[in-house]
Symmetry: C2
Subunit: 465 residues, 2 copies
């Protein structure tokens, strides 16, 4: 575990606020150690810093009351969705109140004719898609975990479908949020586009709860395509696979998903999911369109793949085969962990221009091997984004040092390639040093915005800035 | 003409800065009345408020020097692209220095493999597309005017292709900007996506030069599609046309353009462009894709159109026919002016959820008719966005009063329909009262951001906030 810096605690204020909230929310305020720990950072490599209490609002007004109480006593407020973020976003380095939004889980409206819906922040993406299915609609953003939509907005999440459908920033029309002073705002309405003033929607998306708590989201929806088909293709090298991806994108093939598994990841998938894929770099694809359109996309990709030495090209449009393939992709985290059962995983998240992808992935494999680290790679390669899952014994100081060196080296390399240290996981606590490396003096203007909107630094302190 | 409020002038500061800049920039600083007037608001209904001087930087460092001089003496700085904005964005209500970016007109890099390019802000969209053509690439955003890309970003422009390709907010990867204190920042790099901190890119897009001056843009590009085809179809009523649009979007037909002309606009187009279209509501469409894909889209639309009483459906894939149709669409401003040659045009810009579009357009036609105003309508209806071009004798006080009533009524109606008073033109001076109507207390947080980044309010004062 890596220690996260603790910040000064306002113990008196925290106790006062807990008293106020206990009176107001009764059993919906919890202070037991198990629940508090569960609301600190639980995923992977940063130590847990528990909040002092967890409160469960059921309405925007509840959230406003909580924030007003915290604002009056300068007590930290940390929004909590499903706790699946990876960079310590929900830790409470100065203590304070975790606001668990899981009871704000209603789909408030579906406007099928407008291809939009209005949801509370605790609705998870799977719940939303279950709700929408009967109407022939879906929400495309899929970060892997069954995260809450509020959390996905707050971290500017994306995932496997982003190459076609964009990220959360592209699929949120507007937000309702409670600001650090407890006031409720709307950042926009349901128009597909607007030029009305500063883009507060996009400012809150990716702000990781440091500027306010999202209490309602108006989301863009898409019609479930007439045809969905999948394909897989093996390549002799990562470079060949990346070249095929690059040409597919350049050709304008509107692939819905194009995912890379390196040889080590394929080995893990074979073992975990009972597959027998050739243990060389693999691309998994999904095509959305009309029957003809999806077939044409698969055919075009097949031709491109062949040019780059692709073999074992298999296309399928049966739901069963498709689900099996994508289930294996979604299980990669668990599959990779099985490569070294006693280890824990640290996920990296760089994203580079696609022309640098092959070089970046290959250098990453070499670096891991040089350091003796086990580091399978999977990637949303249509966007130039990939993850290595470092498999580390966190009690072993030497390994942790090497992991730190590896992560730093990788982030620096991505930045030097005109890329980013985080394609979709966010900054949280873990990536703060890299934010400045990546954006330099721009960070001081982020800090100025933060100070202007949250002068007492009560909203998720110790994150991003 | 409607008077725009003048703001207090810092005459001493302005004279001092002109002295400093004259010494530094020589003939690249101009103070003649003609050039000053040309750099105030010249388009339509808001009176001209000229700056005190116009300066022509050639580099980011030039812009930084200008802003530093203005910051030191608290003198207004107004960025100027091509002057085609419509809501008084380039007026100088407190005087000051207009920064004309037309000499920063270099395409700095085209990364064809990454589908991106880096340009200076004075490059116009037509210049960029001419530059890109040989490489099989294009930049899709087309607001009609041959605007500068910096200006298009600053006003969050969109236009006819937005239904498929999004707006400027979706097609800018990152920016370089000079901030109000004269410091140069980069908001990101060339990765297709990033979760690194607050989205300063999207904050500057649509900020209309009130938070900084954009000095470099990294833009997303698209491959020129294999096939581009067009279609037109006439409808008995605006309602029928809008229903067809709605179903086309819901079906997921990836139309690249879907434009409405109401009966009066068709009449204007016939007269101006020598066409003989049926004088009933008309949809113009463009399809991008593979040969089969584009043909399939046209066919699907044809079937939908028929369901709603569409007649005279004509599809074409020859470049000549296509250009003739779209030239007529692009000439609509001039065509409509010919409906009343002595008048000037006032363009409205509401955008509503598509399910409300038919109702909104029909009510707009009725209101104009009730007030006795000539108000042809054209619209980017795939996004629910449409413009009326009010043809007004601006010397006639009674007409101007009616025009004011009409605009106010229309903006209010759009807002009441969960829409926006501006889909793509921006707030500028003209729409400031409606911004508050639309977004309420959210505007106070915009003001807080403005004060934090530009405490002396030197960047384009009197706009948005």
């Amino acid at each position: 575990m890596v220690q996260a810096m603790a910040l000064p605690r306002n113990t008196v204020g925290i106790e006062t606020v807990i008293g106020i909230l206990k009176q107001r929310f009764g059993d919906r305020l919890q202070t037991g150690s198990a629940i508090r720990e569960q609301h600190g950072h639980t995923t992977t490599w940063i130590e847990n810093q528990s909040p002092d209490a967890v409160v469960f609002p059921r309405s925007t007004e509840d959230v406003a009351e909580i924030i007003k109480a915290c604002a009056a006593h300068k007590v930290p407020v940390i929004a909590f969705g499903t706790g699946t973020s990876l960079e310590g976003h929900v830790n409470a380095p100065a203590g304070g109140i975790s606001v668990d939004l899981s009871q704000m889980n209603k789909v408030l409206a579906v406007h099928a004719s407008d291809l939009d819906c209005v949801v509370q922040p605790g609705v998870t993406r799977e719940d939303l898609n279950t709700h929408l299915r009967d109407q022939g609609l879906f929400f495309p953003i899929d970060p892997g975990a069954n995260a809450s939509l509020g959390g996905m907005a707050a971290t500017r999440a994306s995932g496997t479908n982003a190459v076609r459908y964009g990220t959360m920033k592209d699929n949120v029309l507007s937000l309702e949020a409670v600001m650090p002073d407890g006031k409720i705002i709307r950042t926009g309405h349901r128009a597909k586009k607007s030029s009305a003033g500063y883009d507060l929607t996009r400012l809150l998306i990716g702000a990781e709860g440091t500027l306010g708590i999202i209490t309602e989201l108006t989301l863009r929806l898409h019609g479930i395509p007439e045809a969905i088909s999948s394909a897989r293709c093996s390549f002799p090298t990562v470079d060949a696979a990346c070249q095929a991806v690059m040409m597919t994108i350049q050709y304008g093939v509107p692939v819905a998903r194009i995912e890379l598994l390196d040889e080590m990841s394929v080995r893990a998938a074979n073992a975990y999911s009972g597959l027998s894929l050739p243990e060389t770099p693999l691309l998994l694809l999904e095509f959305h369109g009309s029957d003809n359109g999806a077939a044409e996309q698969a055919e075009t990709f097949g031709q491109i793949a062949q040019e780059f030495g692709g073999t074992d090209f298999t296309a399928t449009s049966t739901t069963e085969d498709r689900n099996k393939l994508w289930q294996a992709r979604h299980d990669m985290y668990w599959a990779c962990l099985q490569l070294r059962p006693a280890a824990r995983g640290i996920s990296t998240d760089v994203c580079v221009p696609i022309s640098r992808l092959a070089e970046c992935v290959t250098a990453t494999q070499n670096k891991a091997s040089e350091l003796g680290l086990l580091a399978p790679i999977v990637g949303h390669v249509g966007d130039g984004n990939f993850h290595t899952l470092l498999l580390i014994d966190m009690e072993n100081a030497d390994e942790m040092t090497k992991a730190g060196e590896f992560v730093g080296w990788l982030n620096d390399m991505a930045i030097s390639m005109d890329g980013t240290c985080t394609g979709e996981h966010g900054i949280g606590q873990g990536k703060r040093p890299y934010l400045t490396k990546e954006l330099g003096s721009a960070v001081s203007y982020m800090a100025a915005i933060k100070s202007a909107l949250d002068p007492d630094n009560i909203m998720n302190p110790g994150k991003i800035i």
